[in-house]
């Protein structure tokens, strides 16, 4: 079923919430994302976009169906295995940039790589500085994360997501909290990563402009793909 071109294969996904009432939030979701694709997930508020994204990110493992990422079936792994998988293969960008405010920009970037613990510290620092250049936030690396502007913080968050050269970057409304100018910068950054570096990206958005500039749109309505 899977081949080397596929980054994400989701089959027969169903998800329920039981609290406060039984609620069938995702209904028979099937889709694939190819390597190097830049995909947008759109849909009305409450249609289940975030819920789907948390399943794909492996943070939520309470669902029916099967998810395979880069040929590895993640459904059924235990918490510790999922954490390690996330650390190595998935970069996540949130709506609220969520850097560690008391850490410097550089320390924020280095954290996932230090956790992965596959490269010496100097190499990790080198990689972090490269990404800072790539995302055009040069000269900010020694500042505390909380001192940066919103647009800068979101670019650092993207850089952090890329630190371990993940298979996929996932975003839940990564531009949702930015003004149009900064949103544009982030969208351009994603496009650049996908086109030039072949980075697979999947992002939830309800910004039409964002969705239009993606390779493909997956639209959800009431927990189903339309």
């Amino acid at each position: 079923m899977t081949n080397t071109k596929q980054s994400i294969v989701a089959t027969g996904i169903n998800k329920y919430f039981y609290d406060p009432v039984n609620f069938h939030v995702l209904k028979d979701i099937n889709f694939e994302v190819n390597k190097g694709e830049f995909v947008a997930i759109t849909g009305k508020s409450g249609s289940g976009k975030s819920t789907l994204m948390y399943l794909l990110s492996t943070m939520d493992n309470d669902y029916e169906g099967n998810i395979t990422i880069n040929g590895q079936q993640v459904t059924g792994l235990n918490q510790k295995q999922l954490a390690d998988f996330r650390n190595e293969h998935i970069g996540f960008v949130f709506q609220f940039h969520y850097l560690l405010p008391e850490f410097t920009v550089l320390d924020n970037l280095m954290l996932p790589a230090l956790k992965l613990n596959k490269k010496p510290k100097e190499e990790i620092e080198h990689r972090a500085l490269e990404l800072i250049n790539l995302l055009d936030v040069k000269g900010q690396e020694k500042k505390l994360a909380s001192r940066l502007s919103g647009g800068q913080q979101q670019r650092i968050a993207i850089a952090r997501a890329m630190m371990n050269e993940p298979a996929i970057i996932m975003g839940d409304e990564p531009t949702g909290n930015l003004d149009s100018k900064n949103a544009n910068v982030v969208i351009e950054t994603f496009r650049h990563l996908a086109k030039e570096l072949g980075q697979t990206i999947i992002a939830v958005t309800h910004d039409h402009d964002f969705a239009k500039r993606c390779d493909r749109i997956i639209e959800l309505a009431d927990g189903r793909i339309v």
Binding site: S50, Y54, S57, M59, D60, Q79, K80, A83, D84, F85, R86, N87, E88, I90, F92, F94, F96, Y98, L99, L100, E102, L111, P112, K115, L116, R160, D172
Partner: protein
Amino acid sequence: MLTSRIRQLMVAVLSVIFGISMYVAMNGFMGGVNDSQTEITFTSMAHIKIYNETPDEVAPITTVPKNEQAYSYVSNTKNINYTEGIKNVDGLKNILQDIDNITGYTAQINENVFIQNGVLQQSATLSGVETETENQLFKTADYMVEGNFFDIDKRSDGIILGIGLAEKMGVNMGNSITLSTSQGVKKNFKIVGIIETGAMSADKSKAIVSIRTARQFLSKNRSYATEVQVNVEDYNQARQVAKMIAPHTKYKVQAWQEGNAQLDSSSFLRDILAISVSLTILIVAGFGIYNIMNMTVNEKIKEIAILKAMGFDGQDIKTIFVSQALFIGLIGGFLGLIIGNIIIRIIDHVPFNIGPMDSLPVSYRPQDYILAFGFGILFTFIAGYLPARKASKLDPVEILRG
């Protein structure tokens, strides 16, 4: 890693410092009190006493009503018992010489006598001592307030009185007194020294002469003694050593604890009191840390979720918070030990003039410091572990959804 606010950190460290320094100070002081009690006790009593057990029948006979005829009977019975004693003390000493852990021993003759000064008469305990070894065991010479302890060797009519006894008799250095035994033997002595050991009852009743003088006075042979006092390396081991001596002699071998249960148990009770009060303080400090760590976890809930999203697992999160708590425990513990030691040194210099003491008694026992540090680390670990476990179980999805 996820550092809480500096001020909270300081409060946590201070509470550990307080707990641990109080532990060290309380136990150091109690240890000092216990040690000084024991020390005072051991100025007149050795760790082990070897003596000829007086037959039980003596007691009822002494209660016979006082009329002239009965009196002579009692006197005779006593006589027989007293002649028991230890007849060949040199043989016993040879045995003691070969036993390990014994640091010294001395033979004594202890006998109840009457002291007379003109019309004043007092009962007293006459101790005939071997000055050299007596001084080794009890540092008797150090407690002399007047005269020289060894002068009783120089003159066979020399006697040293306890300070309380001398006061009761109204006598002083150089004065003469008369001693009489229960059999009516009398002899004049000259006071060559006054002693104050700090043990009130001994100071009020004790009269010391050389053992040779005592033997002459009581007409005993030159190897006679009523008891042999033995000191061992560690007085807590007295019972074990007593058990080692017992098979080699027909005499009664008694460790100090047996005759002095109250001493042993009051030391024990003081220790329990000190430990429970100081543990309570440490536990309260632990609650303080628990509170602060809990607050930190609640404040950092977003950061915890991000770390989990990045692939840090529950164990990593736990390690972060537990190591922060241990950091607090180590810093606080280390400073607490230093401050506790300073408090103890200050107490050590507070003037306190009773008995042989001139300042409040303290002890510097390594185990107080080890236990204080150990309990401190244990409580901070527990206080950090519970919030850390809570943090490790947080569901990042729930938090990131907002």
